[in-house]
């Protein structure tokens, strides 16, 4: 068995069983034609793309599904908000610590470079390309807590304890969720970056800055100034539920855009209310809620596969 066969089998395994039964042979035939003479790297790239669509089918994040369309609609706002939340705040945090001359220069350079990832992503979108945002979102999201720890270490020469690390991670929840919006959105729906989308990016950026700078400047304290935000998000959640029942995309897109902010504030605020070690509880709640959502989404959707079959008839 060649590497191409192995990659194809692995990619097809990611598809819902119904879809695989219906289209598996056809996908395999197109894959074989596309990778004929393409070499090992070409076959692996093709298999990656094939598997990615299988995962999208499983999670409902296709360009035909409501969640996928909502993510694409919220993506311009999210990419701006992620940059506003993570990039700017991390740069400010970095500069806050700079007066300490004993701080390692290399650490600060690394901090500055990592902090720039979301900013580079947003600049890419503003200049008309989604590619940097799609490529940098995941690394940017992954390194945010690391950047926080490095910043703390550079300023204090001590590693944060578990509670403080959880608090730093909780602070980066909105940025992480916003960052994940862009690669999760179907690429074919992101489309051209119009002036309307650029305005949404800038609106998101301002929102991200406002949402993060205030609690950020009080060293991850409660976000009293923005207390109405979770209430607003709860109202949006109700509107989104009604909208989804009616098959409307915009209410769900609004929820995708605002929920990360509300979640971040919820985690930090509840943690503060519960005391020093209490931050772990809401953090765990958010993780459990995320796992439940993913498990529900990844259940095979008989109606969707059936819908495709019906459409194909």
């Amino acid at each position: 068995m060649t590497i191409s066969d192995t990659a194809l089998r692995a990619a097809l395994r990611l598809y819902p069983a119904g879809y695989r039964r219906d289209r598996g042979e056809e996908l395999a035939a197109v894959f074989a034609d596309s990778t004929a003479g393409a070499g090992r790297a070409g076959a692996l790239r093709e298999a990656y793309d094939l598997g990615a669509y299988g995962l999208r089918l499983r999670t409902g994040l296709t360009s035909a599904g409501l969640p996928g369309r909502a993510l694409a609609m919220a993506a311009p706002f999210a990419v701006g908000a992620a940059a506003g939340h993570a990039g700017l705040v991390l740069v400010i945090t970095a500069f806050d610590g700079l007066p300490d001359p004993r701080a390692g220069g290399g650490t600060w350079l690394l901090l500055a470079l990592l902090s720039m990832l979301p900013v580079v992503a947003v600049l890419g979108v503003l200049s008309g390309s989604w590619k940097p945002a799609r490529m940098l979102a995941l690394p940017a999201v992954t390194v945010v807590p690391v950047v926080g720890v490095l910043g703390y270490w550079a300023a204090t020469r001590e590693m944060p304890n578990l509670s403080l690390f959880a608090r730093m991670s909780a602070f980066s929840v909105p940025s992480a969720l916003w960052g994940l919006t862009v690669p999760s959105a179907p690429a074919d729906l992101l489309g051209r970056v119009t002036w309307g989308r650029r305005l949404l990016v800038l609106a998101g950026f301002l929102f991200g800055v406002v949402q993060s700078v205030l609690p950020g400047r009080t060293y991850f304290g409660t976000a009293g100034v923005l207390a109405p935000l979770p209430l607003l998000a709860a109202a949006v959640a109700v509107v989104a539920y009604v909208g989804v029942r009616r098959g409307q995309v915009l209410p769900l897109a609004l929820l995708v855009a605002l929920a990360p902010s509300a979640l971040g504030i919820f985690v930090v605020a509840v943690g503060d209310a519960l005391g020093t070690g209490g931050i772990m509880l809401p953090f765990a709640l958010v993780v459990v809620a995320g796992v439940v959502v993913v498990l529900r989404l990844t259940r095979p959707k008989a109606s969707e596969v059936g819908g495709l079959s019906r459409a194909a008839e």
């Binding site: 056809e26 035939a29 197109v30 894959f31 596309s34 669509y53 296709t62 179907p186 051209r192 459409a311």
Partner: protein, 124 residues
């Protein structure tokens, strides 16, 4: 006009490129998956090389939107092959997009024609 419509017009004025390329590739004849990949590469001058997963993501969406339909299913050389064709709604949508693009190109040509003599005059 509903807020949703305003938002859509603000953010999505024209047809997405993969949709435009796929509908164009099917405009003159029904085609199967791999033939569509080749045709799209030819139409875009080699700029767009659609991969299998991306292609089927777009095909599924267009099927669901009723812009294309499955023309036939057959087995060729032991391989399952499904041929796709443009549906009436897809033909209408493609014609409307072509009209829109034609109007933009005509306007661009007109403005370039107006400005060219001015540029020439400046260097005369």
């Amino acid at each position: 006009m509903q807020f949703t419509d305003i938002y859509r017009r603000m953010t999505e004025r024209s047809m997405q490129e993969p949709t435009l390329l796929l509908l164009t590739a099917l405009a003159d004849a029904p085609r199967h998956g791999y033939a569509l990949i080749q045709e799209i590469a030819a139409i875009s001058g080699g700029r767009v090389r659609m991969r299998t997963g991306t292609l089927y993501g777009a095909l599924d969406r267009l099927l669901q939107q009723g812009l294309i339909r499955v023309e036939s299913e057959e087995v060729v050389d032991g391989r399952a092959r499904r041929t796709y064709a443009l549906a009436d709604a897809g033909r209408t949508a493609l014609a409307a997009e072509a009209d829109r693009l034609r109007a933009v190109v005509a306007e661009a040509d007109r403005r370039l024609t107006v400005i060219r003599p001015r540029i020439k005059g400046a260097f005369a």
